[in-house]
Point group: C2
Chain length 657, copies 2
């Protein structure tokens, strides 16, 4: 296309003007469009900035800026105890919402707690203990308004599995000691991670991996419930599907108890039905929320009058009455058990964190308020440390109960306080009434609860969006179901890491073409209409160039070139004279990267091809200058845009194009 005469401008065709206009830029007003070389930052400044972005990216100290000392202390306390912050604006209207929500989640948590403590191989009361103290602590220190604190299925299962690898649960006392020790160290891990601003570490467990892990754990937990649901007496200690199914069918003839199955199925049906109603009509969600408590009451009463327990229906028997006894003296603070406790606790703590933070973030974004992940971790950590000293095991945010809490219209973590008070009453007064509660009901309640953790829609979406994520998801899922929770977790983490490494080793590169009648250049695979400019090849590198990929990038570019040249030879078209490397996506480069560029430059010189760079970013430009590479290829070989570069290098070619 030739230079348009001026009067073409402003008409539909004006795009053509872009070319000469940019051309003019390149020639006459180049200075205006030179690639910016920012003033080099002081080393100290650069360093502090990096540290700040890495550990204090959320700038937690901003409110403290230029404040008087006294004010700083107040702010500090508020930061540590958010209740001092929102407490001042608390009013009766908010309380109405909170008390309703609190009562609802209480009715939900009591039966769940009793069941979950079984998963952790602990006596029922420990589940209730863990729903009394931790929520109180969290209410004071936590920053999420919707999370419901207490024991959760997955962590209970994980803790149970890890603990019984060390001590036989039959040895109640020692087992319990290790449980508290693990809980203590779980809390320490959480608090330390938060305090050291290492919150981002939990981000290394990808969403996909979590979906898979949770789903697998849910299945495993549901399978564990078959023991209580079918009334089987001798059940495997293993959690993998194979073993569980074996011991289920080994007992099919003389192990299953039909009364138990009957009661269980009836109430499971009831629970599922109410859940269905709750889903159908959001205003009736409370039906599904209180259904568990109702079924506990009914079934307990039923068993009591029919004395079904005499016919082999297993019942809870006894829950110790009274509030949490202290357990400080039971924690191992040193010795080999302390070490084991630490290993188990740190794993359980991390998973608990992942769950809590995920919940916190979800609801925070639904109500659009920010929560500080690191502060959250400190809160959860302190909560578990205190918990471990008051006979609680690892508590965290529960998916199911938090959702109910949210739907019941909670406004602040006061709903947690309400819940824990109800639990307190339960512990003081009504625990004896649970004596005749059939295990089958608890099983049914847990099965019903964990079903919510199986998010097949998410799995399908993951499949649609990103196949690699799906592999991670299924890996974690199958790992948990067929081996154990630890293995599943291990698989999830390793696949997540593998993905990161792959990402940094094999970045994408793309050939760019010119979009007709513009000076815009885009990936010719994405924009088939984009045309190449004869004699010029434009390659875009789609990642920071680091030691882990610098050689690959260099060799990949050279291969693009070789392929192209072969084709050109066949069609005997003019050979390539300019290789333009579009650096817009290249956000950073290190010494290895600079080396690769130098090597690329050398190889190109041998082939009599000119290397041209387009739009290096701030960090890249810094380093190109520092390494004198700008001087090697020449300042005039670095352009602001690909369009401009092509324009200056091969104006003729463009005209012919």
């Amino acid at each position: 296309m030739g230079y348009p005469v001026s009067d073409e401008a402003g008409t539909k065709e004006t795009d053509i003007v872009n070319l000469p206009s940019i051309h003019i830029q390149a020639d006459e007003q180049h200075s205006v469009y030179k690639v910016g070389v920012p003033p080099r930052r002081k080393l100290a400044k650069e360093f502090t900035e990096t540290v700040k972005e890495t550990f204090f990216s959320d700038d937690p100290l901003r409110p403290f800026k230029d404040q008087p000392r006294s004010k700083k202390i107040v702010l500090g306390l508020r930061a540590l105890f958010p209740i001092l912050d929102w407490g001042r604006y608390y009013n009766f209207n908010k309380f109405k919402g909170d008390i309703m929500a609190g009562l609802t989640i209480a009715s939900l948590c009591i039966p769940q707690d009793i069941g979950y403590s079984k998963l952790a191989n602990l006596d029922p009361q420990y589940g209730l203990y863990s729903s009394f103290v931790p929520p109180l602590i969290y209410a004071i220190m936590g920053s999420s308004r919707d999370i419901a604190i207490g024991p959760v299925a997955v962590v209970s299962l994980l803790l149970g599995t890890l603990l019984q690898n060390e001590i036989d649960p039959k040895n109640k006392f020692e087992y319990r000691r290790l449980a508290f020790t693990a809980t203590f160290f779980a809390g320490v891990t959480q608090a330390v991670l938060g305090f050291l601003r290492l919150g981002f570490l939990i981000d290394f467990l990808s969403h996909a991996a979590i979906v898979g892990f949770m789903g697998g754990a849910a299945i495993t937990i549901a399978l564990q419930q078959l023991k209580g649901f079918l009334g089987i007496k001798t059940f495997t200690k293993k959690t993998d599907i194979i073993n569980v199914m074996e011991s289920v069918f080994k007992n099919v003839h003389h192990g299953w108890n039909w009364q138990t199955i009957l009661i269980g199925s009836v109430f499971l049906a009831f629970l599922l039905f109410t859940k269905y109603i709750g889903k159908k009509k959001r205003s009736l969600f409370w039906v599904s929320a209180i259904a568990p408590l109702i079924s506990v009451v009914l079934s307990t009463f039923f068993v009591y009058i029919t004395r079904a327990d005499k016919h082999g229906v297993q019942i809870v028997k006894k829950i110790k009455k009274g509030i949490n006894p202290t357990s400080v003296n039971e924690i191992h603070f040193s010795g080999s058990y302390a070490l084991k406790g630490f290993r188990i606790g740190s794993v359980a703590g991390m998973i608990a964190l992942t769950e809590a933070v995920a919940i916190g973030r979800t609801f925070a974004s639904m109500k659009d308020y920010q929560i500080d992940g690191n502060k959250e971790m400190v809160a959860l950590g302190v909560m578990n440390i205190v918990g471990s000293m008051t006979s609680c095991y690892v508590a965290t945010g529960s998916f199911s109960r938090s959702a109910v809490n949210y739907m019941a219209g909670c406004n602040t973590s006061v709903s947690n306080i309400v819940m824990s008070l109800v639990v307190l009453l339960t512990l003081l007064v009504i625990t004896p009434l649970f004596k005749y509660t059939p295990n089958a009901i608890l099983a049914a309640i847990i099965i019903n609860a964990v079903m919510g953790l199986i998010d097949y829609n998410a799995a399908i979406l993951i499949w649609k969006i990103d196949k690699f994520d799906f592999i991670a998801c299924m890996g974690a899922f199958l790992g948990v179901v067929f081996y154990s929770v630890e293995i599943g977790l291990l698989i999830a983490v390793s696949i997540s890491f593998a993905k990161i490494l792959l990402q940094v080793t094999r970045p994408r590169t793309a050939i760019l073409g010119n979009l007709p009648r513009t000076n815009i250049y885009r990936n010719i695979e994405q924009y088939p209409e984009a045309t190449r400019v004869p004699g010029v090849m434009v390659v875009r590198v789609d990642s920071a160039i680091y030691f882990s990929n610098s050689n690959y990038v260099k060799e990949r570019i050279l291969r693009w070139l070789t392929d192209e040249e072969e084709q050109l030879k066949q069609k005997d078209l003019p050979r390539i004279q300019f290789l333009i490397v579009e650096l817009s996506p290249v956000t950073d480069i290190d010494t290895s990267g600079i080396h690769a560029l130098e090597e690329l430059f050398n190889s190109l010189q041998k082939r009599e091809i000119q290397l041209v760079l387009s739009n290096p970013g701030r960090a890249v430009m810094d380093k190109l200058v520092a390494s004198k590479f700008t001087e090697i290829i020449g300042q005039d070989k670095i352009f602001l845009t690909v369009g401009e570069a092509v324009m200056t290098c091969a104006p003729k070619a463009l005209e012919e194009a």
Copy 2:
């Protein structure tokens, strides 16, 4: 700025035309400029493509494409034995270069080998053995034309340190067996890595880390030479500077031998001087190349006539005559020693690889020929496997000798054959003559050789370019010097990984501004002249959005927004209505990333700000569509360029600007 009247076009001011012109695009011909949604690729295709890019990025099978079977076999053999390839074009001219180079490196390697075998705690002849067989194998299978094969200082030291942790070198036989076992597994590791196309794994040791590690190793090796150089009899087994210096000065009064020191210093001075000459006048490099051999001859003769050995000058004493005996029966193929051998061998093998590949790449890019890293690894692996069975220890490419080989004008790996033949003669005939060679000379030669490994210029450059790299460099260096080679290596690797993790957790984000009189938007930090458009905020995300950073990215963007809004309030300027996220550098996104975008979208809706995307790449667009996110925000909110987006969102604002 107002719309220009047409006659402004083509003048210096025409850039202004870009705006309305793009504007027209946006309105009337939008279709042309829609962001391309490439046809979704078949899963299988996508998968194979990924695998291919990851493991066969160099497309090694291309020449085999559509060839007759017989030809394929021939090509296969040539691929496996490159000598069949270049051998056919070999001629006398090339041979002249090769024989000169071969003789030169032979004269260099013989004294080095004797010294290096000491570093590995092996008898002198094993160094010579390792310069006979391996070069022959490599000459047949290797693809680098300039590399000089044989034992090298760093690997010898590493192997020596690792081996003596397992077996006391005094127990010669068992020690040697383990050495061969390690060599065998080093070869296996190398070959397997190459065969499985896992060559990219060695890229995870960053250039900076290697510089530091090599420098540290060089210092350590030089320090080890003080034993021979000062004629000290009782010397520490440790390699860290503290211990070495201790045992040096403990012996200062009654351990140093002045005759040894005299001889050593004289020849060290001679060597350094010749090296200086070689550097000054490239045509005289051969002086420095043969200097070591000359000094060996002279010093040996001198000691022989003066019988200085009677005055405490330590000499080599005896080198076993004859060629490599077989050692197959000495290798542990099973048992605990096999395991130890594997652990040691894999580490030594990896380091050897790193060194060889680095050399190969350097010279390949200097002479502009490609070498296939993976094929290279197979060659080196086979070479060491065969070596381990013929009494050789781990051999690889030597920096110093390869450089000499290159300067001496080698053309093909025939120079290696020549060298190994000379070594053969040495083994058969003249080894007895080395009897009187003083250890001090070997020490001097090694000190002189390893000095070349201390690349302080590179270190300075690294400091200038990238501070983080410098930390990795110094970490490795200090680790080797003050602790041990393994620790140094460990530090190097961990820092390298830490960097990768940092890169993927904390990507950069930037606020973009409009470059006056263009429709180009750039980082306002890099281009101070760039101006913001009122009511619009443009944020660029500088990395793929993955689970590891999705939350950070979301929160960072929201923080940019909050900061901005605070400022606007203070200056009571119009509030922000559009948040444009520039996705050009975002090369990929996963499910977590999509989630983050959805959460961002929700938060923005709460604040009545419209989310607009600009230039999503191929992979990103694929996934935005797959996840229906395009429908959530609306196709019309996705633009090809920031300019276009601003134009359509806030034309008025732009005019006022």
